[in-house]
């Protein structure tokens, strides 16, 4: 027990005053008597003439002292945490700030028990219960974790009620729960001078960093929604990956790649079907080991399939991730995907690397088709070991990628050929993200000279091997070596390097598939003024896009977060006049390597236990403010004192019975 206002104990100073008041002598009451003869004969003791007497141990005095003591202690606002909380519901001490981190990730869709309720339902009910325990003066904040973090705050009773109602109807956002980011946000949102408490309501299938948890500044309680389910009930199967790419054998057919994961404890044998445009075109029985093992599947697709769906034909707690869809024909029909012109007389490794980039439109033209090169309309032009005439190059109005440009091209070079060795690398450059050049040999290469403003990425002792420059006032990247003459084209580093160069020079394309709840983020075209996205249910959302300026190019990205429903979404771009600029589709699939794993993270509770308040050494219990009880007790004592004071006069005024006194 501690005192929230110790200064209130100063009221105990009234106790000596009360004692002094009772010690003083009062003028005795005057009473007429029929005669004093017998009183005189009774030899009475004379009345005490002193101003004060010894403190009389009378009941009124004791009751008054007790009442003042209780009031003084009540003014000091004693608060306790313990069994008294049950005796005095609703009497908690300080206003507190309860911050609930509510997991709305995809895994919370799993059925939590026999009642058929999902973990999301259980988590929402737990959050409502926690909010219902709050009182006037408390502050509640709910951080909804999912594809996007939503924050709700309530500071009074009305807003608390509103928050609970809102929570009852809140749709599950889906996606992944970034618990670390939510904990950081919680630490920033906590109000000062309030009793802080954070509650993470999750299925436990989340991870957190111990250092982040320790920085929250409040104790964090972990509540597992659906904790009563067994390990077998958490066993989940999921399609965690799906992709369709042209067959590497070069026969023009597409190949579907998919992975089925088993997050249960035991190996299972599951039937998997492949549906193309509504017709079953493949079936397989897979035996998958337990504990998260994944089994890849590969199907060669017949041509002309617009929509493919892989489905696990076996029920489990999370049915949403039992199927995944892809739109392999979408790239051909989409008009929003980046258009890349490959100018090559002998397409080889470069062409394959470009084709493997998802959701781009690739057009290959020979170097002598000058009209096609000059026609423009492409987002990126790739020159493969060739360079257009100067007048043609002047008409190229898009960024360009140059692979082993020949002499006489737009770039300065020296005479001579060397077999370069990498001696300089610009560390951390995005073009080299995931690119491992160790062991790569480059073959004979010309020696290029960097111009002013050029930026070398990879260089040798003789000159740059990879650098940024400008061509026709447009951004350009030059790879000086010939992939076909080196072993680079046979290494994994090459398609990654090509993908990085395309990502830098060409606008982002809309991904063909994204996980459930993940936000769709892409860069619209320059002329785009509005983007309309239609969900699988047919609901359309129109996002306004600001006109492009040099200052806001990065901020023009389209961010669409309402991807909580699995299925195909359509995207349309319009210009400021309302004309259609293009359309495409993307698919949202629920399967995810982490969200489909319904098993609780055993270390999460220990990590969250590191979180403490600055002055809190243990998890706080419900603290009860005792002053109302003490004030009530003081009032009862005052009432008892009144009754005690009135009793003698009532006894004195009671009529007595007739007593015969005749002699």
């Amino acid at each position: 027990m501690n005192l929230l206002a110790p200064l209130g104990l100063a009221a105990l100073g009234a106790v000596p005053l009360i004692v002094l008041f009772h010690m003083r002598h009062t003028t005795p009451p005057r009473r007429p008597a029929p005669s004093l003869r017998f009183w005189t004969a009774a030899r009475p003791m004379p009345a005490d003439e002193r101003r004060f007497r010894r403190p009389p141990l009378s009941l009124p005095l004791l009751l008054q002292i007790a009442a003042v003591a209780l009031l003084a202690v009540a003014l000091a606002r004693p608060a306790t945490a313990g069994p008294l909380a049950a005796l005095a519901p609703g009497l908690h001490a300080e206003p507190r700030h309860l911050l609930i981190l509510l997991d709305g990730s995809t895994s919370m869709s799993a059925v939590a028990g026999a009642e058929g309720l999902s973990r999301w339902d259980a988590a929402r009910a737990e959050a409502e219960k926690r909010l219902a325990a709050l009182r006037e003066g408390d502050v509640a904040t709910v951080i909804l974790m999912g594809s996007r973090s939503l924050t709700f705050t309530a500071t009074d009773n009305a807003s608390l009620i509103s928050l609970r109602e809102r929570l009852a109807n809140l749709p599950q956002p889906g996606g992944r729960a970034d618990l670390d980011a939510a904990l950081v946000l919680a630490g920033d949102l906590f109000l000062p001078n309030l009793d802080r408490q954070a509650v993470v309501i999750s299925d436990g299938a989340a991870t957190a960093d111990a250092s982040v948890a320790a920085g929250v500044g409040a104790p964090v309680e972990l509540v597992i929604a659906g904790a009563e389910t067994s390990a077998a009930e958490r066993a989940n199967l999921a399609v965690i990956d799906i992709a369709a790419r042209p067959d590497p054998d070069g026969f023009g057919a597409d190949t579907l790649y998919t992975s089925i994961a088993n997050f249960g404890p035991e190996p299972v044998r599951v039937p998997v079907t492949l549906t193309g445009d509504g017709l079953e075109i493949g079936r397989a029985d897979l035996t998958i080991d337990g504990n998260g093992a994944a089994e890849p599947l590969r199907w060669t697709l017949p041509p002309g399939i617009a929509e493919l769906t892989v489905r696990i034909e076996q029920p489990d707690p999370l049915m949403a991730d039992n199927s995944a869809t892809i739109l392999p024909g979408n790239a051909a029909t989409a008009s929003i995907a980046p258009r890349i012109l490959l100018v090559s007389d002998l397409p080889g490794a470069l062409a394959r690397a470009l084709m493997s980039i998802e959701n781009v439109q690739l057009v290959i033209e020979p170097s002598d088709n000058v009209a096609a090169i000059a026609a423009g309309g492409y987002d990126l032009v790739v020159f493969d070991r060739t360079a257009p005439p100067t007048e043609t190059l002047a008409k190229v109005d898009s960024p360009s990628l140059w692979i082993a440009p020949p002499a006489g091209g737009p770039f300065a070079m020296q005479d001579g050929v060397v077999d370069p060795v990498v001696t300089r690398v610009r560390a951390g450059d995005p073009l080299l993200d995931g690119v491992d050049l160790a062991g790569a040999t480059f073959g004979p290469s010309p020696i290029f000279t960097l111009g002013s403003g050029d930026e070398e990425i990879v260089g040798s002792a003789d000159g740059p091997l990879l650098y940024r420059t400008e061509a026709n006032d447009q951004p350009a990247v030059v790879l000086t070596i010939d992939p076909e003459g080196s072993n680079l084209s046979k290494r994994v580093a090459f398609p990654v390097l090509v993908a990085n160069m395309v990502a830098e020079l060409a606008p982002d394309g809309i991904p063909a598939a994204i996980p459930l709840g993940e936000a769709l983020v892409y860069e619209p075209r320059t002329a785009t003024a509005a983007v309309e996205i239609t969900s699988p249910s047919g609901e359309s959302t129109v996002l306004s896009i600001a006109p492009e300026t040099p200052e806001n190019r990065a901020s023009r990205d389209v961010v669409f977060t309402d991807t909580g429903a699995a299925g195909a979404y359509s995207v349309k771009e319009r210009d400021a006049s309302g004309n259609d600029l293009g359309a495409t589709r993307f698919v949202v699939n629920a399967g995810h390597g982490r969200e489909s794993d319904l098993r609780a993270n055993p270390g999460l509770e220990a990590i969250l236990a590191n979180a403490t308040g600055l002055d809190i050494v243990a998890t706080r219990l419900e603290r009860v403010d005792l002053w109302p009880l003490l004030a009530l007790g003081a009032l009862a004592l005052i009432a008892a004192e009144w009754i005690a004071a009135l009793m003698p006069s009532r006894r004195g005024s009671r009529p007595r019975g007739v007593r015969g006194s005749a002699a």
Binding site: P28, R30, R31, P32, R37, A42, A47, S653
Partner: protein, 346 residues
Amino acid sequence: MSAPTRRLASLRTRARWPFADRPATESESTAAPDEEVLLDERTLARLRGLTLVSGHARTEGLAGEHRSRRRGSSPEFADFKRYSQGDDFRRIDWNTYARLGGLFVRLSEVTTELSVHILLDSSASMDWRGDPARSSKFTAARRLAASLAFVALWGFDRVAIVPFSDRIGASFGPVQGRAQVVPTIQHLQRLRPLGGTALAPSLAAYARGRSRPGLLLLISDLLSGEVEELRSTLHDLRAKGWQTAVLHVVDDAEIDPEATDSWLRAADEHGNAAASIELIDRESGEQLRMAVDDEVIARYAAAVNDWLAQIEAACAVEETIYARVSTAWDIDDVTLALLHERGVVA
């Protein structure tokens, strides 16, 4: 009829007929003790069947209803006696002579009236009550005097009511006859306490002023003088042929230790019981400031009991009827029973 007119008519009605149709309730008697109705119809009904016992007091006259040992010529037959010389021969019963041949004289019974003197102590000590819910001793004494006066007048006795304190006040009467009941009680209602007390001198002075003794009823709290002084006066009265009865009016707070304790320790208007008290003598104004404790109350009770015993002994020696009447008693129950037991009424 307006409200003031109604109140005036009510006062007139009370003045003309000072009896209530029903017993007075407690609230009425405590709300206005000075105006309380002294007797009610139920009490009067009981009183009508009583007569005062004359004892050895001399009766006289022929208007009363007291039977006399004298034989006279009234129509009420009493006995026969043989004629002897000197008898009034007009009283010889000739019918008896015709039957028996002897002369017999017819004797008749004579009834006489009694002179009743009610001496009412009107001193300031009588104007006191230990419990605000009860009547003062003076009111109780007046009620007792009214009862006895009613009995006497209803029996055609002569009644005189004499208030006294340290002197003898204006007396009422002697009056006789039932028509005097209302004026007598109205007079008692109008009486007010007078002041100090000189009990024995007043008693002696009154007796000296009367040529013929009668029944003297002393109604007092006796808080005056010494007991020996009272005994001496009673002795003189008895020697002169007075039949005397002492009706001692007391309040329970005077003689009952428990009631005394409650009166002394009664809480003030703030609910505080006093540890000390200042007593003021009603008659002398003398003050006594003292501590209230159980011992002083016990000594007070012992002194009072000793005084009461002395009074009773003095009355017994002087063949005086003594009855102690509490203000807590009703007049028609305990009081009349006690007076009947002590031979005041029959």
